[in-house]
């Protein structure tokens, strides 16, 4: 039973990081109908930015906020300057551009930060060996509790933004019918750029939380997380924020259970393949995901 709760707790914490990044994918998809393959790399760059600010002496919390602002600017800037223009000409072009961004951002990070000794990102929460709480016999490290709490709070804020604010209403309107949204006076360009911006900011937080757990930063930091997040977004449905969160947490927990109970059967390397297999099977069997609307077909 102890083990069960241990895997559950760890899985929820890690899953909340996947969910954050998956939510970024969903916000972009709902807003503009595109899959942003560079989402993970944008998050990785922002995590380095957080480290850089922190290294310059800026307090960590402030560095994270700055990193999220940079993430917002990066996302919004990419949408307004590159994606929108390409999307007018060809949807497939957006796919190519986001792959190019993926590669470009990856080399950029390696160029700027690659030659230094590996950067150590301090965790946001106490992570000494004895910083934990026992709940149902399982060890719940403060760091993991903190990650889960921060991720859940941010998701809650995002849902409030969507459901309760005029800006959220505008975002939903643009996603549902861009032409009528314009006719209703909604500045669709600003709304679309903002949805990429919000995704960028969430990626920054997701990367920072993950970087705090991993400890060392490198250009491949978000690769695994991005695969899990993609699996979560696919499983939950690319147009369903709630689905992305549930699927992200489920994948996190599932990963821990599989690796914990069947250590020989499915090792560290196999977990990635399992995530990719999930994507593949969902796309084949139910392309709209578990919680998405059926109109999602262009994936």
């Amino acid at each position: 039973m102890e083990r069960f709760f241990q895997y559950l707790f760890d899985g929820l914490s890690l899953g909340s990081i996947y969910a954050l990044l998956a939510l970024g994918l969903v916000v972009v998809f709902r807003g503009t109908g595109h899959l942003n393959f560079a989402q993970g790399e944008m998050a990785m760059i922002c995590t380095f930015v957080v480290w850089q600010f922190n290294d310059w002496g800026v307090p960590l919390v402030l560095s994270i906020i700055l990193g999220m602002i940079v993430g917002f600017a990066l996302g919004a800037g990419v949408e307004a300057t590159i994606i929108r223009g390409v999307a007018k000409k060809s949807q497939a072009g957006v796919f190519v551009v986001s792959i190019a961004l993926f590669l470009g951002l990856n080399s950029l990070a390696a160029m700027i930060w690659g030659s230094l000794p590996p950067e150590q990102l301090p965790g946001l929460f106490p992570d000494e060996p004895d910083d934990f709480q026992r709940i149902f016999g399982a060890v719940w490290r403060y760091e993991y509790i903190g990650v889960l709490a921060v991720a859940l709070v941010l998701m809650g804020l995002l849902f409030l933004l969507f459901a309760k604010t005029k800006f959220g209403l505008a975002m939903r309107a643009v996603a549902s019918n861009p032409e009528s949204a314009r006719l209703a006076g909604i500045p669709t360009g600003i709304v679309l750029a903002s949805s990429w911006g919000i995704a960028g900011a969430m990626g920054a937080l997701s990367g920072t939380l993950w970087g705090g757990i991993v400890g060392e930063l490198n250009a491949g930091l978000m690769f695994t997380v991005f695969i899990y997040a993609s699996a979560a977004a696919t499983l939950g449905g690319f147009d369903s924020p709630g689905g992305a969160v549930i699927a992200g947490l489920t994948i996190g927990v599932g990963e821990q259970f599989l690796a914990g109970y069947f250590p020989g059967w499915i090792g560290q390397e196999m977990k990635l393949s399992a995530a990719l297999l999930t994507i593949f099977v969902v796309l084949l069997v139910k392309p709209s995901g578990l919680f998405g609307s059926t109109k999602v077909e262009r994936v």
Binding site: L169, R172, A173, S176, N177, A181, L183, A184, G185, I186
Partner: protein, 234 residues
């Protein structure tokens, strides 16, 4: 001076010009209908007037030249456009659709929503349903109510009868006529059903392949034999 003055309006899609220099007026408090066969350019005219597509010529609204004004600014100036077919936000609830309609202004929104619920009681019953789950007639009413939430001076309404049962069409037209008569709302209407349109509109433009081929009062048009043969099936 008319509320809406369109002069030498040309517009199209990419290299293809669809409208070849159209002149058109809508007076304060007037209800004007554009008639024409499928593909004549009626929808293109509406889209060009509301700035959804590139245009040349001039469009003046309430004395202001709006030829270069962005579509999203026009609703704040008093032009509301119910596009052909897809005027609602299918994924949003009826309430949220109406809230979007009031995006460009503030104050008294709840009272306005109640007002349109009184005019369209069936929308009130479905206030929390997704617009996409409504019947065609209900969606058209919602699209019109959504447009009216912006307090327009001019309502552009593109084929509100499309795909609706005759009785529902009647109902929609009653509402438009009443708004025009009681509140002085100016309306520019596109319609294929000429008999119906001629009953509610005061003036008519006949459009053929992107050109105005005839215009006049509803009575004049209705009594012109050649036009009756071509457009009214009698």
């Amino acid at each position: 001076m008319s509320l809406l003055e369109v002069r030498a309006l040309s517009a199209g899609y990419g290299p293809v010009e669809v409208l070849h220099g159209i002149d058109l007026d809508v007076d304060h408090g007037e209800m004007v209908v554009i008639l024409g066969a499928n593909g004549a350019g009626k929808t293109t005219t509406m889209r060009a007037v509301s700035g959804m597509i590139g245009r040349s010529g001039s469009v003046t609204f309430d004395g202001v030249d709006i030829t270069r004004t962005n579509a999203e600014k026009l609703v704040g100036m008093g032009i509301a456009h119910v596009p052909q077919g897809r005027g609602t936000f299918p994924d949003l609830t009826v309430m949220d659709n109406l809230r979007v309609g009031a995006y460009a202004r503030s104050g008294g929104i709840a009272a306005d929503i109640d007002r349109w619920f009184a005019v369209f009681p069936r929308l009130a019953e479905r206030r929390d349903q997704r617009a996409g789950s409504l019947s065609g007639g209900e969606q058209q009413m919602l699209a019109i109510a959504r447009a009216l939430m912006s307090h327009p001076k001019l309502l552009l309404c593109d084929e509100p009868s499309l795909g609706l049962a005759p009785l529902i069409t009647q109902e929609v037209f009653e509402v438009l006529k009443k708004l025009n008569a009681d509140e002085g709302l100016s309306v520019l209407l596109v319609e294929q059903n000429a008999n119906l349109a001629l009953k509610v509109a005061q003036r008519v433009y006949l459009l053929e392949t992107g050109t105005v081929v005839a215009s006049g009062s509803a009575a004049q048009i209705a009594s012109d034999d050649a036009i009756r043969k071509a457009y009214l099936g009698a």
